[in-house]
């Protein structure tokens, strides 16, 4: 069974702190996406990474794809309350699968 494990599962931090969310698998992914979901809404695509070792930045968010394309990380610098939400990684091997999710709460 293919799995995308995310850690941590829950994270509660103060505004201004930095954090990293991890997404790990034993499978190799041809591409990997990160999504953010806010209450009452569907997940929104943040980024796609496709090349091993690739790093992409989206304002205060930095996404990295592992060299072997089996893992990824999301780093948030100086977190803000607006970053609160459920973060999901997802990837495509022969099928498209979602990670277990990281629920982030940023306190003002």
């Amino acid at each position: 069974t293919q799995l995308l494990e995310q850690s941590p599962q829950f994270l509660s931090i103060q505004e201004g702190e930095n954090l990293t969310v991890y997404c790990n698998s034993s499978s190799v992914f041809s591409s990997l996406q990160w999504y953010r979901q806010e209450p009452g809404e569907g997940p929104v695509l943040l980024v796609t990474v496709v090349t091993g070792g690739e790093v992409k930045k989206l304002k205060r968010l930095t996404f990295q794809f592992g060299d072997a394309r089996k893992d990824s990380s999301l780093h948030i610098t100086a977190a803000q309350p607006g970053d609160t939400g459920l973060y999901l990684c997802a990837g495509k091997t022969y099928k498209y699968i979602f990670g277990t999710g990281t629920r982030l709460k940023v306190l003002a």
Binding site: S30, G40, E41, G42, L45, L88, K95, T100
Partner: protein, 113 residues
């Protein structure tokens, strides 16, 4: 349309009744997924369409659940004889190329009373 549209946004139904949930994907998107999300949980895969065919139905929880897609566009998820454990948010997502990810609708919140 500009995005993925789901209807209704909310549905309250009595136990034992049938419900139909509708998804209008982005025009031209050939891939379509249905997911279910219980309160505070991640996404549970239900079914995947490529065009009008469903190569992967492995996530449908029971034979009370069925889905179809017509004209490579609109999809309907039907739940027969609803049970309280069916209460959840049902999300639809579509893509032109899954390699680049999916666009989600806002979901249908189903409550079975």
């Amino acid at each position: 349309g500009a995005g993925v549209s789901q209807s209704p946004s909310n549905k309250v139904t009595e136990k034992g009744k049938d419900v139909e949930l509708r998804c209008d994907p982005i025009s031209g998107h050939t891939a379509l997924y249905w997911y279910r999300q219980s309160l505070g949980q991640g996404l549970e895969f239900l079914i995947y369409f490529q065009g009008n065919s469903a190569p992967d139905k492995s996530g449908l929880p029971s034979d009370r659940f069925s889905a179809e897609r017509t004209g490579g566009s609109v999809s309907t998820l039907t739940i027969q004889r609803t049970q309280q454990e069916d209460s959840a948010v049902y999300l639809c997502a579509s893509s032109l190329d899954p390699y680049y990810g999916y666009t989600f609708g806002s979901g249908t919140r189903l409550t079975v009373v």
